[in-house]
């Protein structure tokens, strides 16, 4: 069993039990792994979309984490999602026969975090396409660090309502990101 498996599995088990810090660490480890993964896989097409795919995959993992069974390998589970996203992306992108420019060759070997920035599209901007309730809920809880309860009282709705709005909003966001990627 790989060293990643042991580490990631420990983290996801703790986060399933409600440990947010472990979950954050889990996602951080994953973003580094996925960055390397997508850059390798997209080497021939150009790695412009790699960071978008990293974010899309993280979002998909977040939304599907309820179907993860701790008795199974976590690495194969997360890579199955990453591969699904990759294939989806390749299917939407017209095949390109470009070679890897010599200058970009270093990208092929990017293994670690370093440059996690600059995705081609901006989730902040995509938020404006969501219904007001969903985008407000996501903004308050996910970006402004309020708890669901605080957000609920500020928005004048129930806490459950806030949570549902966040969930629906994130799902819609994922669809938007996928659509945006289509050239």
């Amino acid at each position: 069993m790989s060293v990643y498996e042991t580490e990631l599995h420990a983290l996801i088990v703790r986060s399933i039990d409600g440990d947010d810090a472990a979950y954050r660490q889990f996602l951080e480890r994953l973003s580094a792994l996925f960055r390397a993964f997508f850059r390798r896989k997209l080497a021939l097409q150009g790695t412009a979309h790699a960071e978008d795919l990293v974010q899309e995959t993280l979002l998909a993992i977040h939304l599907h984490r309820k179907s993860y069974d701790p008795n199974r390998q976590i690495t194969s589970w997360v890579y199955a999602i990453a591969r699904y996203k990759l294939i989806d992306h390749l299917r939407k992108t017209p095949a390109s026969r470009e070679f890897v420019p010599v200058d970009a060759i270093a990208d092929l070997f990017s293994e670690e975090a370093a440059d996690g920035a600059d995705p081609g599209l901006d989730i902040e901007r995509l938020l404006t396409h969501l219904p007001a309730k969903q985008s407000t809920a996501i903004r308050l809880v996910k970006l402004e660090q309020l708890t669901a309860k605080e957000a609920a009282s500020r928005m004048g709705v129930s806490e459950a309502d806030v949570k549902i709005s966040i969930h629906r909003g994130l799902q819609k966001l994922m669809a938007l990101v996928a659509k945006e990627e289509t050239p």
Partner: protein, 211 residues
């Protein structure tokens, strides 16, 4: 938005996750679907008239559907989620189909020549070929709702598994109105109807399961 911002956002205030959700959701959805399908039987076809004398054959036919559902269910549990490995789960389902074909063949060969065609076809086109898929519909619908959002990475196969499971469960409901008791009839047409459901499921439901 930068990736670490996204990570921070996602990791905030998430709370504990339930366990065993995939199985639970599928079983609950199947139960609701079967209930709807059982209710449809008297509305669409009516229970068989000689019910009190034919408890045993009805139970046997329901058992056929149940056995099919039990061999197909593990496939659905697996295909409903990302990262599926189904090869080791296929033998029970294939064995069941092969046994069913074997039973049909033996029954066909051992039937008396004059009764053979009636035992096989029940006089005309076997009704279960369209009645079982019809009864499978509510089950397939509830199952799609259950499986959506679980992140199936092989949507077409997952759709076929939904079709197979709902066809098998529909056979249980259909047993209460099916007037044909010959093993030849059940082993050939029930199986054909279930396989038909699986094929349609793969073609039609795969799209609904994409994400």
């Amino acid at each position: 938005m930068k990736t670490d911002q996204l990570v921070n956002a996602l990791a905030r205030d998430t709370g504990a996750q339930p366990r065993g959700l995939v199985e639970r959701r599928i079983v609950i959805a199947a139960a609701i679907g079967v209930a709807a399908s059982v209710l449809l039987v008297p509305l669409l076809f009516g229970f068989r008239s000689d019910m009190e004398h034919s408890i045993l054959p009805v139970m046997l036919k329901a058992g056929f559907g149940l056995a099919a559902a039990l061999t197909a269910a593990p496939l659905l549990f697996e295909l409903a989620r990302p990262n599926t490995r189904v090869r080791h789960l296929l033998p029970p389902a294939l064995l069941f189909a092969a046994a069913s074909v074997a039973i049909a063949t033996v029954a066909f060969l051992t039937a008396t020549p004059e009764g053979r065609m009636y035992a096989w076809l029940g006089g005309g086109v076997p009704e279960c070929l369209y009645r079982i898929p019809l009864l499978a519909l509510p089950i397939a619908i509830t199952l799609v709702f259950a499986v959506r959002g679980l992140g199936a990475t092989r949507p077409t196969l997952a759709g076929a598994a939904i079709g197979g499971v709902s066809g098998s469960l529909a056979a249980i409901a259909y047993a209460s109105c099916c007037p044909m008791d010959s093993a030849l009839y059940v082993a050939s047409w029930y199986l054909a109807a279930i396989l038909f459901c699986a094929a349609v499921g793969g073609i039609m439901l795969g799209r609904a399961l994409k994400w």
